[in-house]
């Protein structure tokens, strides 16, 4: 067990004894990770804020059911994943998901200003395409390719076997590439016409 994981478990134990400082420390330590997962999945900072709050609210209410054999961040991300997918399924008929302007996102470090701008636009383009990918496949791609989780960790977060995880990642990447190629082709055709 790593020192960090042990530290998280100690904080959870203190939370169970109504130690507000420990809960505050857990929030400060993990809210960025949860917020980014929500943002990467749904593409809106406002929704990501609401979902992050809901995730911690749910986790707080379920702390007494926490399985100490599981790593706390894995459990936290499992809750976040479920809430993100539930939220998407509830709202997907209401509006077309529109990715926010990427101008508020810090430009990647290194390279000329032009290269940085191009990179930022590429990220915006790929994020816009990502939110069009089926929710389970999209979550698999976000967890693997953006968040960098291992197959084992994704299996624990999503609650599906490793074989299914690999298959979802592959299918998600392929669907993403198809969306981008399709959009590129459509733009090309529009110009030709």
């Amino acid at each position: 067990m790593t020192e960090d994981a042990s530290n998280d478990r100690n904080l959870v134990r203190r939370c169970l004894k109504r130690d507000e400082d420990a809960w505050n420390m857990l929030i400060r330590k993990h809210n960025r990770r949860v917020y980014n997962l929500c943002y990467q999945f749904c593409g809106s900072t406002g929704t990501a804020e609401d979902l992050t709050q809901d995730v911690f609210l749910k986790v707080y209410g379920a702390l007494d059911r926490y399985n100490f054999e599981m790593e706390f961040p894995t459990w936290l991300m499992a809750v976040a994943r479920n809430l993100c997918i539930d939220h998407y399924r509830q709202h997907k008929r209401e509006k077309v998901v529109d990715i926010e302007d990427a101008s508020h996102i810090a430009a990647p470090q290194g390279g000329s200003p032009l290269a940085q701008l191009e990179r930022r636009e590429a990220h915006h383009r790929i994020h816009s395409a990502l939110v069009k990918v089926t929710e389970d496949l999209r979550m698999a791609v976000v967890l693997r390719d953006i968040q960098g989780y291992s197959y084992d960790e994704i299996s624990a977060i999503t609650g599906v076997p490793i074989g299914t995880v690999k298959s979802r990642i592959n299918r998600g990447r392929l669907e993403l590439a198809r969306v981008l190629v399709g959009e590129h082709t459509a733009v090309g055709k529009g110009v030709e016409a």
Partner: protein, 205 residues
């Protein structure tokens, strides 16, 4: 191999996880098919772009908002815990036990100041409940009719719905007449008892 077969194999091909016997067929198709080779290029570029996807900093006050939302929920329950070191289940159980003891017949029969106070409040609570029940009973007629009509609508029995509504109108008229009679008696400043009022209504009708 056709485009569909090759595209299904692209993820494994890009990760070099593909079976050696299939590599030749995939590469031959990719040399000839611009659309599949373009898809592979985008596929590879995406993985590189996603790996460098920038992380956002959450709003500075997000942590405070979460803390406020989560701790506010239990603020009342936590009050005793925080200031007296008594967990919520303990004081809630103690309060329940005290309430049961105060309402026990043995306690209420005692001739002590707390027993008399408990008796007084118990009687008040009882009178209030009876008054509330009386008011609710007045609405019972409407509720029963609504329920009957709803059931008949579900059964699509139109004739019976009409009968039910006519019965309701008749009952309502009768009830209104009785109420107005009671009102007249009250306005006359009569000191009739309830039994007397009933007799009066019967005589009048």
């Amino acid at each position: 191999m056709n485009c569909e077969q090759v595209q299904e194999l692209l993820p494994e091909y890009a990760d070099r996880q593909i079976r050696q016997t299939l590599v030749g067929g995939v590469e031959e198709h990719l040399h000839q098919c611009h659309s599949c080779s373009n898809l592979l290029a985008v596929y590879r570029e995406n993985i590189e772009l996603l790996a460098t996807f920038p992380l956002l900093d959450p709003p500075a006050d997000l942590g405070d908002r979460i803390l406020e939302r989560t701790t506010r929920r239990r603020s009342v329950l936590a009050y005793f815990d925080r200031y007296f070191g008594i967990p919520a289940p303990v004081y809630l159980s103690a309060a329940a036990a005290l309430l049961i003891a105060l309402l026990s017949p043995a306690f209420l029969k005692m001739d002590t100041e707390p027993s008399r106070a408990a008796n007084k409040y118990l009687h008040r609570a009882w009178s209030y409940s009876v008054r509330m029940y009386g008011r609710a009973e007045g609405m019972g007629q409407e509720i029963a009719t609504f329920k009957n009509v709803l059931m008949l609508i579900l059964d699509q029995r139109v004739d019976q719905i009409q009968d039910e509504l006519e019965n309701y109108s008749t009952r309502k008229e009768k009830s209104d007449q009785q109420s107005s009679q009671r009102g007249i008696i009250a306005s006359e400043g009569s000191s009739l008892t309830l039994q007397g009022a009933r007799d009066h209504v019967l005589r009048e009708s």
